[in-house]
């Protein structure tokens, strides 16, 4: 199948290879949580809620008493895909993504400032259309910022693939299921450090660099957008205060 039309240069959904889907971010969507956010990348829609820092519920889990414990739970809603999923949680994929998100967020949270406490991040996929991993990380970042948890930098994530000999930014579900390489990158934008890099396929080194470069560009664009959302939110809060 042609994922990039050779005559018009457009992808199946009308984007150019280096274009992202439409982004949408909103904070404060779950009233009970300490911080929450909704994040959309095209048709992928994710909600994140953050609880904490709070007292550790199960001391057995505590590894280092000088640092906060970060926990993360990823799950997909039964209705998030076309077919109804039977096991929304606890399968290998969910466990893996939970771990990935936790590790990525841990890298940016200043955990040493909050000893003997724990932070819970819940992410739920409402609608899946490729790139859920990235969308979850972006949503978690927004939610953590909303909760006021101290962070080194904003972590953002974006995926990029390589189909029809072209690096493609932000794969949607059709492109994702094409079986080509899918590079998911998470970076600390200001510090320019990579906190997440995943790929489960083979790519020659030079092409891989191009694809990763594209994904990093995507991350930076998302960071700019997230900052805007946060700034607007802060302004709104300022207004409310008077």
């Amino acid at each position: 199948m042609e994922y990039v039309n050779p005559l018009t240069g457009f992808r199946v959904d009308g984007r150019r290879p280096n274009e992202m889907r439409q982004l949408k971010g909103e904070v404060g969507v779950v009233a009970r949580a300490d911080g929450s956010a909704l994040f959309e990348m095209g048709n992928t829609r994710v909600i994140a809620a953050v609880y904490g820092p709070r007292e550790i519920q199960n001391r057995g889990q505590q590894v280092n008493s000088n640092e906060a414990l970060v926990r993360c739970e990823y799950r997909m809603a039964e209705f998030s895909t076309g077919d109804r999923r039977r096991k929304p949680k606890g399968d290998r994929r969910s466990t893996e993504i939970s771990l990935v998100i936790r590790q990525t967020m841990e890298a940016s949270i200043l955990t040493h400032l909050m000893p003997r406490s724990q932070i819970d991040i819940f992410v739920q996929v409402l609608q899946a259309d490729g790139g859920t991993r990235s969308a979850c990380i972006n949503a978690a970042t927004l939610a953590l910022a909303d909760a006021g948890i101290p962070m080194r930098d904003i972590v953002t994530s974006c995926s990029a693939g390589y189909l029809c000999s072209t690096p493609l930014l932000d794969l949607n579900y059709i492109e994702d299921s094409a079986g080509g390489p899918d590079v998911t990158v998470g970076i600390l934008t200001k510090m320019d450090k990579v906190t997440l890099l995943q790929m489960d396929a083979k790519l020659p080194m030079d092409t891989f660099e191009n694809v990763m470069e594209l994904a990093i560009e995507g991350c930076k664009a998302i960071a700019t957008y997230i900052r805007e959302v946060l700034l607007e939110n802060t302004k709104r809060l300022e207004c409310q205060r008077g």
Partner: protein, 934 residues
């Protein structure tokens, strides 16, 4: 950037699923009109300001009138993405042609992504069919163009759909049919390219031909697709590819997987308008109609009849040849074991353009008007095609190309249209071109982009190459090459040195083509597409440009050349002790022909080092050959002939069998060994993406004709394995010296072709090469003339860590695609060489009627097929006069013998007969070689 969502419902494995996809609409899709100021200045522009009109074409125009669009008279065409998508779904071949037009810089064809444009995207309306929706999208886009470009530029919608045209005019657009537009261009030649619509889309201008009372349905209506699919599912119908008998176009076979046997189809009416190569659905006839009909050789002129050029006249009915065939000739029609069926539907058409000529006919009185003519394809499997032309006088006695458009139930022949003229019939150049076109061989000169990839000429060895640590300097080694006389593209050379320990160092040096052909360059793409060089009689069509083929890569004598070498250490008993692969620099000391090399080896007075090397190699080769045969390699034979060509007229002067000497076999042996060594190496490093060559073992059914022939002459062949077959072929001796060769030729014909494949696609046991009895084989030794070898060179270089593996090897389907293309090209190249030999044979015998000896290879009811060993010709001989269906002769299938009852005249297979060969011209400009019994 605006966004909208399109909702599509889609079934997947029977389940209904709702799929939601995003669809981004944009404002940065530009019109491509050169003087347009509203669009972004940097955007690509193709549509010329001076154009009389900007043409917007609809899907059916592209699908049916592609020959017209390819004509340079049609320019400034806008192709909408909705049209391209539809074309792609309906006919991939046409899509590739239109794609080539759009990417061609010289043509002004612009692709407008109307589905992505904010103003031209149309939403599906409730209750609207997708056809109507697409038509509407086309009209909306045309409207947008008109308003975007303003009144000064005319935008013309070209459509043959009456409804669409009416709506377009209602919406204030300019719309015309193809025919009226072409008429307005006032180029009469162009009108021949226009496909005349057969359905009621447009009122036919030749309405006076319309004689409804005389219309008669000749063929059965094809079953609707839904019925065909359900019939296939419940097993009433059988699907398969239709193959028409080469000798008898009224007989066809459909290989069906559901039955596991071939279904025979007799007669044009049972074939029901299917062409050779079509995928068809077949219904079996009741078993009592499964008559074993005699296999006839249909004469060329069997189809000769009064030509009724007015279409759809009643007397156009196909005579059912099968019914007469099955009753006459055999007193009691036996019920055959082979199923017989008829075509009920065509699943996929294999319509193409065909080369041929018009059937001779009296010139109509008013030569300026539209004339109907019947086109006879050179390929006998294709039925005659009815065409309309306005330039009849220019087309008679020419070779022309015609494309098929439709085949109506009311019409005996399919209708098509003229595409282009090649040249005069019988002219050598024309006929050679026909051969090339028929085999899809690209003879165009290499493009400037391709030539730009060549190294600067004249090329000499640079210091850089010498200082390359991966390249070994072997210039001091006595390397030489042995090739056919007059060979300019020398891609292999050898050396053989005696080592102090009594062993031999044997090296095979292959031209280092990949040093000049880099992956991904236009040169590489062109070579990949051509796949192989094609050798015709007195002509060569190169895969790589001439400077590479004949000079830079060619391992000529006394010049320094780059090579890729395989070097073995061998004991005098030809056991390989070690194998080494390296890139190298060599300097060949002699480029010999086979004859020269053989003469040197045979001349016992010569003891110079080169001759000694040759003798050493030859003795090693003999041992290797012996060992290979013991393993079960087959020595097959084919009837290769050689022409001596007049240097002035390029006409053949003499013809004879190609003689195989020991020197040929010596070179062959080392090339085989090199190929096997390389195959082992690359497969070890790249088990999933190596390009190898395999030769599938023939099945019992395929060897059946060979066994039958052999048993009729009292020979028992053991075909249980290649080794057994090789042995029984060796034992097939009689007092007739040619007998063994003949049996080998027949055996060769029963084999399948060896094919290239990608190692990841098959399991190890399937890699086997039957003919060579080798578990692994590939092609490494001729990179100048075969692209497969170029691929293998890259793999080997990557395996040696000299070069990086190009990314294409990571892509399994693409690699498989390359292998498939190579197989296709290879087969076509072989067919073309064979056809070229046939053509030259014809030219040779035109002035030289000859009497010679021939061998019968196949027996039929009204004659037999003979093979002339001296000239490598095969052809039919008729025992009965034309038209007579062979009532006098009785065929004995078991003994492969045809006898005349009451007399003792009989002919059996493999029998020697004296024949007379002569070129006759039953019709002017249609020469053919006729064989008659003396």
């Amino acid at each position: 950037m605006l966004q909208s969502k399109s909702f599509v419902k889609k079934t997947k494995q029977g389940r209904i699923q709702k799929v939601v996809r995003e669809h981004y609409l944009r404002d940065d899709v530009y019109c491509g009109f050169v003087p347009c100021s509203a669009c972004d200045a940097a955007a690509e522009r193709k549509l010329d300001a001076a154009a009389a009109a900007i043409l917007v074409v609809d899907t059916n125009v592209v699908l049916h009138q592609i020959d017209l669009l390819e004509n340079p008279a049609i320019e400034d065409v806008v192709l909408l993405s909705v049209v391209l998508d539809e074309v792609k779904n309906k006919n991939l071949a046409v899509f590739n042609r239109i794609k080539a037009l759009c990417t061609n810089k010289a043509r002004r064809f612009y692709v407008f992504a109307n589905e992505q444009h904010r103003d031209t995207y149309v939403k599906d309306m409730v209750g609207e069919s997708s056809n109507d929706r697409n038509d509407r999208a086309i009209r909306v886009a045309a409207c947008w163009y008109q308003s975007h470009l303003g009144e000064s530029t005319k935008v013309l919608l070209i459509t043959n759909d009456r409804d669409n045209k009416r709506k377009a005019i209602e919406e204030g657009l300019n719309a015309e049919t193809v025919e009226s537009y072409v008429r307005s261009l006032a180029q009469p030649g162009l009108l021949d390219l226009v496909v005349v619509p057969t359905s009621g889309d447009v009122t036919m201008e030749d309405a006076e031909d319309h004689r409804p009372s005389k219309k008669k349905v000749i063929y059965n209506e094809h079953k609707p697709m839904s019925e065909v699919t359900s019939g296939l599912r419940c097993g009433i119908y059988h699907q398969g590819k239709l193959r028409v008998n080469r000798y008898n176009p009224f007989e066809a076979y459909v290989g069906s997987e559901s039955i596991g046997d071939e279904i025979v189809i007799h007669g044009r009416s049972n074939m029901n308008r299917a062409f050779d190569g079509d995928i068809v659905a077949v219904e079996l006839l009741p078993q009592d109609q499964w008559h074993e009909s005699k296999s006839f050789i249909a004469d060329d002129d069997e189809e000769e009849e009064d030509v009724h050029l007015a279409p759809n006249s009643a007397d156009d009915a196909p005579r059912n040849t099968s019914s007469t065939q099955s009753t006459v000739g055999s007193s009691a029609p036996s019920v055959s074991s082979r199923p017989i069926g008829r075509v009920v539907g065509i699943i996929k058409r294999n319509w193409n353009s065909y080369c041929g000529s018009l059937e001779p006919m009296p010139m109509p009185a008013g030569s300026r008007g539209v004339a109907h003519a019947l086109f006879v394809s050179k390929d006998r499997r294709i039925p005659k095609i009815r065409i309309q032309t306005r330039q009849l006088e220019n087309l008679v006695n020419k070779r022309i190309i015609v494309a098929v458009d439709s085949w109506d139930v009311l019409s005996r022949y399919p209708s098509g249209h003229y595409v282009r003229t090649i040249g005069d019939i019988g002219d050598k150049e024309t006929e050679t071109e026909v051969v090339l076109i028929e085999n899809d061989i690209n003879t165009r000169p290499f493009s400037t982009q391709v030539l730009a990839c060549l190294p600067p000429l004249p090329w000499t060895l640079s210091l850089e190459d010498l200082s390359n640590p991966n390249r070994q300097d072997l210039r001091h080694v006595r390397v030489f090459s042995v090739d056919p006389p007059g060979c300019r593209d020398i891609d292999d050379a050898l050396h053989c040195t005696l080592l102090p320990n009594g062993n031999f160092e044997v090296g095979v040096h292959i031209a280092d083509v990949t040093n000049f052909v880099h992956p991904g360059t236009p040169l590489d793409e062109e070579a990949a597409q051509r796949g192989t060089s094609v050798y015709l009689v007195g002509q060569r069509i190169d895969m790589l440009p001439k400077p590479l083929t004949e000079d830079v890569c060619s391992l000529r004598a006394d010049v320094e050349r780059l090579a890729f070498s395989v070097i073995w250490e061998m004991t005098p008993d030809a056991d390989i002790i070690s194998t080494r692969y390296t890139k190298s620099v060599i300097k060949s000391c002699a480029a010999m022909s086979y004859v020269e090399a053989q003469a040197r080896m045979d001349d016992s007075r010569l003891v110079d080092p080169l001759t000694v090397d040759l003798r050493n190699l030859n003795s090693l080769a003999k041992i290797m050959r012996q060992r290979r045969c013991e393993r079960g390699a087959l020595t097959l034979a084919s009837a290769e002939v050689k022409f001596e060509i007049d240097s002035e007229t390029h006409d053949p002067l003499d013809i004879g069998m190609y003689q195989i000497r020991e020197a040929n076999q010596m070179i062959e042996e080392f090339m085989l060994a090199a190929n096997i060594s390389v195959a082992e190496k690359i497969l070890k490093y790249f088990p999933l993406c190596s390009l190898l060559r395999r030769h599938p073992s023939p099945t019992k059914e395929m060897l059946e004709p060979l066994l039958r022939t052999a048993s009729s002459v009292g020979l028992n062949l053991d075909v249980s394995s290649s080794k057994a077959l090789a042995e029984s072929l060796d034992n097939a001796k009689s007092n007739d010296p040619y007998f063994n060769k003949l049996i080998r030729i027949l055996a060769t014909r029963c084999m399948t072709q060896a094919v290239y494949f990608c190692s990841g696609d098959l399991t190890f046991s399937e890699y086997y090469h039957y003919g060579l009895a080798a578990s692994l084989y590939t092609h490494f030794t001729s990179p100048i003339r075969r692209y497969a070898d170029v691929v293998v060179h890259r793999l080997l270089a990557a395996a040696l860590d000299i070069a990086k593996l190009p990314p294409i090897f990571q892509d399994g389907p693409q690699l498989t695609g390359i292998a498939d293309n190579l197989n296709y090209r290879h087969r076509n190249a072989q067919m073309a060489s064979r056809a070229s030999v046939e053509l030259h044979t014809l030219i040779y015998f035109r002035t030289r009627p000859t009497d010679t000896e021939a061998r019968i290879v196949k027996v039929k009811a009204n004659g037999f097929i003979v093979f002339v060993p001296k000239f490598g010709i095969e052809g039919p001989i008729y025992l009965t006069p034309r038209g007579d269906k062979g009532g006098d002769w009785v065929v004995d299938e078991v003994h492969q013998r045809v006898t005349k009852p009451g007399t003792n005249i009989s002919y059996a297979v493999l029998q020697t007969v004296r024949i007379h060969m002569e070129v006759v011209e039953p019709q002017p400009h249609r020469p053919k070689l006729q064989l008659t019994l003396i």
